[in-house]
Subunit: 201 residues, 2 copies
């Protein structure tokens, strides 16, 4: 059986990766979301064990010490991390796992998992990026300025990824990511068994 | 503008690459067939300049001398070659070009064009491969035996390609190749302009 794909979707703040990933998960029965752990406060409507595992700083540091993270990072004063155990289990069962993580985290995962599929989402324009960051409404003007500047400087990091997808519409971004998943499943290095099985008598 | 993709579809004899490529071309408005030159006799219904450029051995050798081929090879006593000029023209206009060539030819193109997309078609089973080679009806028992043995020994060559697609049904093979095309268009190294355009003010 073919191992599942570790799909890493990332992008600067405000590129809409949350929306794209939600749609992708809703439309793909073989794709599962890797739930991250975080020390930040839940936003309205967020539930522990659904969007995130909400943990204390003490708990988070205990998990670090126990080597329970594929990666972890501090972003805007909060910790975020990807628990590795559940991911491996799914991949070994041929299920695909989606990691929706920030750039810093994705770069760390790249080093550990070169077999992953790394997709960088781009906003269609800087104007649109600015609108999206503003549209969240949860930021002060200072936070906005900091996030916008961080986001634009983060965009160049996308060149380190394998794939780049412009999020001009959620539909087209989701279709492109689905194509990437289908294509990656056809990669020769993910299908060595195919040749052996075919030629074995 | 993004350059077109050079799509190379190849596979052992009898894997049905002709049928798959025909369907792919019919369904993709941006994909164009690269017409090969050959010294073999036209089969029933084949027209010069449509399936192939049918040329004499003398003409073919003149083209070789004039460096007009991306690759050429002798297969079963006949020459086949890929004229390069028309291909480059299309790629530079952002159009994709499909090369449907034998394995020997594809391996030569790989060396010259590492930016190409190399897809290897596999038959679903050796039994099916045997049936398909027999089904052509145009071969003597000796030709059949030779082609079947060549085909099975060629299959392992597929590991040198980037992608492998099992031709279990034409529909599924065509869908997979379409996904590969869409995914390749998202490759970061094919989209360097995207980053520059986005960040330029």
């Amino acid at each position: 059986m073919q191992k599942g794909l570790l799909l890493v979707v990332s992008g600067a703040s405000g590129t809409g990766k949350g929306t794209v990933c939600k749609r992708l998960l809703a439309e793909s029965s073989t794709l599962f979301y890797s739930i991250s752990a975080t020390t930040r406060q839940p936003r309205a409507g967020e539930k522990d064990g659904v969007e995130y595992f909400f943990v204390t700083v003490e708990e988070f540091q205990k998990w670090i010490a126990e080597d329970k993270f594929l990666e972890y990072a501090e972003v805007y004063g909060n910790f975020y991390g990807t628990p590795i155990h559940k991911i491996e289990e799914r991949l070994n069962h041929g299920e695909d796992v989606l990691l929706e993580i920030d750039i810093q985290g994705a770069l760390n995962v790249m080093k550990k998992r070169p077999d992953g599929v790394y997709i960088f989402l781009l906003p269609p324009s800087l104007e649109e990026l600015s609108n999206r960051i503003k549209g969240r409404g949860s930021e002060s003007p200072e936070t906005f300025a900091r996030r916008f500047q961080a986001a634009t400087s983060e965009i160049a990091t996308g060149k380190k990824y394998q794939y780049v997808v412009v999020n001009d519409t959620v539909d087209s971004a989701v279709e492109k990511i689905k194509a990437i998943i289908a294509a990656e499943r056809c990669k020769v290095n993910r299908n060595e068994n195919l040749f052996e099985n075919l030629l074995a008598v």
